[in-house]
Structure formats: C-alpha cells, structure tokens
C-alpha cells in the first residue's frame, strides 16, 4: 500500500505540547538552588593519571566543588556488558572522551570557565588507534583485566567451507570499509538530579534507557535500585545514541547532587556531545564468495573487524547482529564467518539505529551485484535466485516458517513502482560525453526483530481504568520521539474498542513499572504493544467479572466496548460495566506481560533460532553525479517494508522517511575523522547531516502481513528503514559512474575519483 498523506491525520499524544513549545525537555527544567556541572576531558587518548589538582579551579568565581573519581562512593566503573567504563577516570586515560573531573558552580558559565584551571598531571603512554594492530598479541592491553584487546568474538560455521570452494565455478573477493557515524541527535545530553527528602535520588534526563540509567546511577552512588527514580521527560532524539553516554551523564549529575545535597544540572554542549558520545562502529569487512555458473551462491567466507574504541559498551551485541546477518538475506549452504570487536584508544563505539546491519548491508548488497555481473546475469535475477523465501533456512539454521517471508514482495513492489528495468538503460556508467551521470540502485534486506539472543526480551504494561472510564496506560517502553506512547494508546483503544481520547499515557518513571529493557532494536511496538494487548485481555476479563458479579450471572464476554451474557445478549456498555466493577469492588486494572517467543544461540557454532521473527524490506534511489565536480544529487527515494501492521500510518511514514534520510546521510557524507583518537567534529558545521534541500521527495510502501508472533500483529520499523539506503546509493553510483565505491562515506570516494580522473 502506497502511503499518501491525503486524509490521514497523525495521532500523537504529545503533539500539542511539542508544537506549542510547552513540552519540557530536561534542560528546560530548573530547580531552586540548582547548581551546574561541567566535564573536564582528557586532552590525550592514552595516559597514566598521576594527579588532578583542583586548587586553582576551586578559587574561580562561583565554583563550589571539583569532583574526581576518588569522590565516587559506589563503583567507579560500570557498563551494560563488561563493566569497564569509568564514570570519572581513576588512574588511566583510554580515550579523549574520558571525563577526569566535574566542576560544579552556581552557573553553567562559571563551571565552564573553571575547566582550564583544573590541572591534569598525565603521563602519556603509547596509544593504539588501529584495530588490526590492537589485535596483535604483542600489543599493550587497554584493559589488562580483560586479558586481550579483542573485546569479543563471534562466529558462524555452517556446512563445509572447503566443499563450497570446490563446488564453486567462480570466486570473488572484496573488502569494504564503513565509517564512524555520529548520531547527531538535535538535543545534546542533559541530566538534572536531586536527592529527595525521602532519600531517593531523582533523575530527570534525556535518555532512551531509563532502567539502564537507573543501574548506572545506583552503581555510582552505591544505592539500591529502589532508591533511584528515573523520570523520562521528552527526549530530543536518540537513534540508539542515548544509552550509555546518556546514562553516564545522569550518573555524573547524580554524583554531584549526592555529594553537595543540591539539585545539579549537567547539560552538554554540542562539542562535548560529539567528543564523548559513542559512534557507529567502523568496520572492515573482507568477503570471499563462491558461485555456481547457474547463479547459486556456494559459500561465503567473511572476516569482520569492528573498532569498538576504548570501552565495551554494546559492541558484543552489535557485532552479534552482524554475525547472524553476515550473508545478508540470502541462502548460503557453506558459511565461515569470524567477527571481532576490538578495543582501541579511539572514541568508543556503541548502539546506533541499525546496530551492526548497516555495515553488513553496505557490503553484501554490493557484493551480490558484483557477483551477478561476474556471472553475466542481472542483479535482480541473482537476488531472486538466492534470496530467502517462505520456509527457507537461514545461515544459522533457523527455519523461516513462523511468519510471512515477504522479501520478494518488498523487492517487486519497489522495482515495479520505480520502473527499475525501464530506467536501467538510462544509466550513464561514467559516459565521457554526458554532462551529468544518472544512476539507479536498490538494496534488500531481512532483519531479525528485537533483541534476539542478545538478551531476555520481555515487557510489561499496566492498564488502570478509572471510575469514570478514562484509562491510565503505561508500558516498559520509552518514548524516543518515534511515537511509541501514541502507538500503545492506539493499540489499547482498538483492543478495548474505546476512543483514544479516553486513554492517557502515564508520565513514565522507573519506579512505576518493572524494567522492560531498553527501547532499542525496533522493539517498542512489538514488545510494548504485545504487553499492552496482554494487559487489555486481562482487563477485559476483570470487566466481565465486575458485570457478572453485579448482575449475578456467568459467562460474560467483552467485545468492542460492550459486555454480552452467555446467550450473546448485550448486558452492559463500557461505562456502565466500569461502574459495576467499582460498585462490586473489582478493580478494572491489569498488569500484562509479553514474553517474546524463545530464541536460541550456540556461540561455538553460530547456530540457532537467532530472532523470534523477521522483517523484510527494499529501498531504491535515483541520483545524478556532476562529472566535473563530483556533486551528487538525489532525485528519488522509495522504500517498501513489511512491518506486520500499520498502527499509526502517518508516524509509520515518518519512520520510513526519517530512516531513508539518515541512511542516505550515512551513505553519502557522515563520518567522524579522528586525530590521535579525538573526534575532529565539534558541531553541525563540520559534521554534515542531510538538510531539506539535500533530499528528493520520498515514497513509502507499507506491506502488512500480520505477524502471528506479535500479539498486536505489528513488528518494528525504526531500524529496517535505515539499513538500506547506503548500499542502494552505492549501487546507483556504480551505474552513474561505472565505478564501485567500497568505502563509506561515498561522496568522498566519488570526489576522490573525479579528482583522480582530472589529474
């Protein structure tokens, strides 16, 4: 279904607040007596800390304290997987993003002014900036306790790789490199913390994982989880980036608030944000692929090295997804895959929308076209020969038989709509006589939904119907701006058959509802929506119980805001049923839990049912290149994705457009060059994100095969939309220029190529 905005009105529970400027983000809050903190960064990426002298800084106007790691009452280091990140660096600097001290002053300006007065006594030690070098056994260790600079390793061993080699008529090899992209969320990190009279450290902050933030704060302060309450206010963008770094910012503000017994705000400026926050992992991917002349892939051998930077963060999980999806959405009988996450002294890498798939898709979706060209068959035919279909078995041994495999449907939709075959002959392939080079390209993918075997995957929802029939809803999912609260409201409204206006999403707090995991991995709608459906089922039972008790009958059923007796006759409407419940002292309240279907994984073989369901998609792009300047103009972008069910069509379209745009920016321009480990970006003037005039009109096609694994029938969409545009652009650039560009960002490759041609 092609999405058109005609007649569709978007639903957002927070729209009025956001469009009138009354929505309060973290930095918009103030408190009486509030102090301001500012971070003191390490000037070099690798050093021993001999001392920090704050004597001069403390004398600066307005400065009240300078805190270092020695002031931390709880754990100095923390982390989601490996606890290796110091909230404040204690004895060693491993990255220029390390914070060595916090200056606290009456105003933010005063705190910032005192930063240079904190004297750092550092002894530089040799740094490692190249992951391949860091992996060598003789290299010094960043984290001696870990015993290796290899943070983690994953593999897949499927079939017999040597047999695959023997069976192949043609073998191709290609290396790809990807970039270090910055999330560049519009709102920099911010936290406001204060110790409440009841002894609870309350945290307001811009983060997408309130429960993880609670763990970071509790660990830093030596508190129990019950004594930290994280309240999440509107967040100005996250895209995976407001997980660890955001939690650390909260932990630092909480530390200052705890030590000074005053509210403390720590709001980052853009320079700090870009310096410290983790980036998308840059990968080097070395592929070797064997092919039969018939077009069937015989084997894939691949080695990937991901630069994890100075700290673990979620590198083992990011690289795990790359492992599971290392062959793209294709059937491959023999696979030998090795993936390494590596510690270096570079700014650390972590979660970023896509999470290990954009790097793989950038590579494999070019590799299949290189393979098709070698075989002399069309890239579309080659994809159709090898792509997964209903009941296919993935390279990790998972049979795709629990949901509709709609990969071909997605690809056919896009190719038909863009008229791909008709436009292929128009492609320039670097035609010397042309004034501009035209190209068209596309890419396809499948994506495992939610966390998979990364971790326990469950979520809860509370439906609390009030005596007047209005409803308070909450789930363990966090509003990142994507519209998750609105999606939950719409799902509940449909389940109960009541108008959405009756439902309010309750102000979220980690003390309200059990830990539902992080709102990442495109799991908001599927997990939170699933829990909402479960809670709705339970509350409907409670409503029936109330009516049965009130009327002295049995066997009632609830359907579309009406209650029926055993004979199918209507006995109460929604409002009278709720009144009966309260009169008979039966609360129309329910706590629903959705436990994702079981997944499995064997770390030694790389086999298992990695994800409980999958989504499928295809994106295409048309573009032109100026042969003289190398300037690239995007002409048309379109996408088809199967998300199971369109819950809130306008917001769903927003995920399509936003994902395509971020994917195009990743493909064309986004990169964080480093100088001795330090990011050479500091703001939007030297980190190029796409602006309105960089973009063409986009088209979104919704494919809706309801997913039996999802109680709401809907799956996720946030990440699938991002992971395809970079390879689609690479394929289009090949058809425009006649050259394959195997490194991100692509615009730089094109510029370099044009310059080379001109010399």
């Amino acid at each position: 279904m092609k999405y058109t905005s005609d007649g569709v009105k978007a639903f957002r529970n927070d729209a009025v607040a956001k469009v009138t400027g009354t929505a309060k983000y973290t930095d918009d809050y103030t408190m009486p007596g509030m102090l301001h903190a500012a971070p003191v960064y390490a000037p070099i990426a690798s050093a021993k800390i001999n001392g920090i002298d704050s004597a001069e800084a403390i004398q600066m106007p307005g400065v009240l304290a300078v805190f270092t790691a020695k002031d931390i009452p709880g754990n100095v280091v923390f982390g989601q997987i490996i606890k290796d990140y110091p909230t404040l660096a204690l004895d060693r600097v491993r990255s220029t993003g390390d914070v060595l001290a916090l200056v606290v002053a009456n105003t933010r300006e005063q705190a910032i002014a005192a930063i240079p007065s904190v004297k750092l006594n550092l002894e530089e030690i040799p740094a490692l900036f190249d992951p391949e070098l860091a992996m060598q056994p003789e290299s010094p260790l960043l984290h001696p306790d870990h015993g290796s600079n290899v943070c983690n390793y994953h593999c897949v061993r499927t079939g017999d790789i040597e047999q695959g080699e023997r069976d192949s008529d043609i073998i191709i090899e290609q290396e790809f490199k990807t970039s270090r992209a910055e999330h560049a969320y519009l709102e920099p990190e911010s936290a406001l913390c204060y110790l409440r009279p009841d002894g609870v450290m309350e945290v307001l902050g811009s983060m997408q994982h309130p429960f993880s933030t609670r763990r970071f704060v509790a660990s830093t302060l030596g508190f129990q989880l019950k004594d930290v309450e994280v309240r999440t206010v509107p967040m100005g963008g996250g895209f995976g980036g407001k997980d660890d770094t955001a939690a650390l910012v909260c932990a630092r503000a909480a530390l200052c608030a705890y030590l000074l017994k005053k509210p403390v705000k720590l709001t980052y400026n853009r320079e700090w944000s870009m310096r410290e926050s983790y980036k998308r992992h840059p990968y080097t991917l070395q592929y070797r692929m064997g092919l039969k002349k018939s077009g069937k892939i015989q084997f894939v051998k691949v080695r990937m090295v991901a630069d994890g930077g100075a700290y673990c963060s979620v590198t083992p999980w990011v690289t795990w997804r790359s492992t599971v999806q290392c062959c793209g959405c294709y059937e491959v009988p023999n696979v030998h895959c090795d993936v390494y996450g590596v510690y270096t002294n570079n700014v650390f890498s972590g979660a970023f929308r896509g999470f290990g798939s954009p790097q793989v898709n950038f590579s494999i979706e070019q590799l299949v076209e290189i393979a098709a060209a070698k075989l002399g068959i069309s890239e579309s035919e080659f994809r159709r020969i090898n792509m997964v279909h209903q009941d296919s078995v993935t390279i990790t041994g998972q049979k795709l038989d629990t949901h509709t495999v709609s990969l071909k449907q997605a690809m056919d939709t896009v190719l038909n709509e863009v008229d791909y075959e008709a436009k292929l002959p128009l492609c320039s392939f670097g035609n010397k006589d042309a004034d501009e080079w035209y190209g068209i390209g596309y890419a396809i993918s499948y994506r495992g939904m939610s966390l998979g075997a990364e971790g326990t995957d469950f979520n809860s929802a509370i439906v609390n119907i009030q005596p007047d029939g209005s409803v308070l809803l909450e789930t363990g999912i966090h509003e990142n701006g994507q519209g998750s609260e609105s999606a939950m409201i719409l799902i509940l409204a449909e389940e109960l058959g009541i108008p959405q206006e009756l439902i309010r999403y309750r102000f979220p707090s980690t003390s309200n509802i059990p830990d539902g995991g992080t709102t990442v991995a495109s799991r908001g709608t599927i997990l939170g929506g699933g829990a909402t459906v479960k809670a709705a089922e339970l509350v409907k039972q409670r409503i029936c119980e109330g009516v049965e008790t009130a009327l002295g009958i049995k066997g009632c059923t609830y359907s579309k805001a009406l209650v029926f007796n055993a004979e199918g006759k209507q006995v109460a409407d929604y409002f009278s049923a709720i009144q009966m419940c309260y009169r008979k002292q039966i609360y129309p309240y329910a706590f629903g839990v959705f436990q994702a279907p079981r997944v499995s994984w064997d770390e030694h073989t790389g086999h298992g049912n990695a994800y409980f369901t999958w989504v499928y998609g295809c994106q295409a792009v048309e573009l032109k290149v100026n042969p003289k300047t190398g300037q690239i103009t995007l002409l048309n972008m379109l996408a088809a994705h199967d998300m199971g069910k369109a819950v809130n069509p306008a917001m769903l379209a927003g995920q399509f457009y936003g994902g395509m745009t971020m994917g195009a920016g990743y493909g064309l321009y986004e990169d964080t060059p480093l100088q001795d480990g330090n990011p050479q970006i500091s703001n939007y003037h030297n980190y190029r994100v796409l602006r309105s005039t960089d973009l063409p009109e986009m088209t979104a096609y919704f494919i809706q095969n309801p997913d039996p694994n999802s109680p709401s029938k809907a799956k996720g969409i946030g990440e699938p939309t991002l992971e395809l545009m970079a390879p689609a652009i690479a394929n289009a650039l090949y058809r425009a220029t006649g050259v394959r560009f195997n490194s991100l960002p692509l615009a730089k490759g094109v510029q370099d190529y044009i310059k080379g041609q001109q010399q």
Partner: protein, 155 residues
C-alpha cells in the same frame, strides 16, 4: 532599551545587553520553547521571528534586537489556546517526532508564509534549509507547510 516578546514589552538593563537572546528567552523569561541545539547558529532550533524575519536567537545579543518585535513559539497560538494553522498542520501531517526542531521549524514556516503565502514544495524546502531535523526526513514538514499555506490563504 525595550524588546517586545510575543506582544509584551520588556525593559532591558544595559548590564545584560550582551546576553544571548536565546539564553535570555530561556532563562529570564522562561520561554523554554526556544531550543539550543548547536549554539553556533547552524541548526535552526533556536529560530525566532524578529520583525517578521526568521533569525537564530543563539547568534543574537539583546542589543541586536533592541526596540524590535520578537515572536517565539509561545507566541504562535492564540491567547485562548487556539493553535495557529501552522501548528495544526504540523500536528495533522505527522511533522513532529522528537519535537526538538519543531519550534524553529514552525517559526521558519511562519516567516516564509508571511513573505510568500503560496510557496511551491521546492520553496518550502528552501525555507527550512537552515533548520536541521534528524528524525523526519523533512517530508512531512513540507507537507505541513503546504497544508498551512493553503489553510491560511483560505482563511
């Protein structure tokens, strides 16, 4: 020196004439709808209207807007809370996600429509070139600008 903000006159002491307009709006007037995303005038989050022109309030000092008429996002809706057609269009078209760029986008749109009540989609694109949105890909913001323009023309 007097600065008018959303119709209210504010007398400015010379001692704060060098203060950034964005910070003054946020800290002194508590008009926190004006957001600071970059603080160097390149992201557009702090856009306000100064005598009808969309300007970056993080790059302006109070002395730069002396005697001028400033409109912030808080001044867009009517006193009774009725939304401006631009605000309504942003809501209807799904132009809002995280919302951090929204106030600046709304004001850039307003400046455009004051000057050009019937923009093309390309002109709408150009008008928000200085406003970064990291969520939406801008498409539904363009939709909103077109819808708002039409509704404002039709009154």
């Amino acid at each position: 020196m007097i600065i008018t903000v959303n119709g209210t006159e504010h007398r400015i002491e010379p001692s704060i004439a060098e203060k950034s307009l964005a910070l003054w709006l946020r800290e002194d007037l508590m008009l926190t709808g004006t957001k600071i995303g970059c603080d160097i005038g390149v992201c557009g989050s702090c856009t306000v209207l100064v005598d009808g022109k969309a300007l970056r309030s993080c790059k302006l000092k109070l002395k730069d807007v002396a005697t001028k008429n400033v409109i912030t996002i808080e001044g867009m809706s009517a006193a009774d809370g009725t939304l401006h057609p631009i605000q309504q269009a942003f809501m209807d078209c799904g132009a809002i996600q995280c919302g951090f760029c929204t106030p600046g986008m709304v004001l850039s749109t307003y400046a455009l429509l004051l000057e050009n009540p019937a923009p093309t989609r390309a002109q709408a694109r150009s008008a928000i070139k200085g406003n970064i949105c990291r969520c939406t890909g801008y498409q539904q913001i363009i939709d909103a600008i077109m819808q708002a323009a039409q509704q404002m023309r039709e009154g």
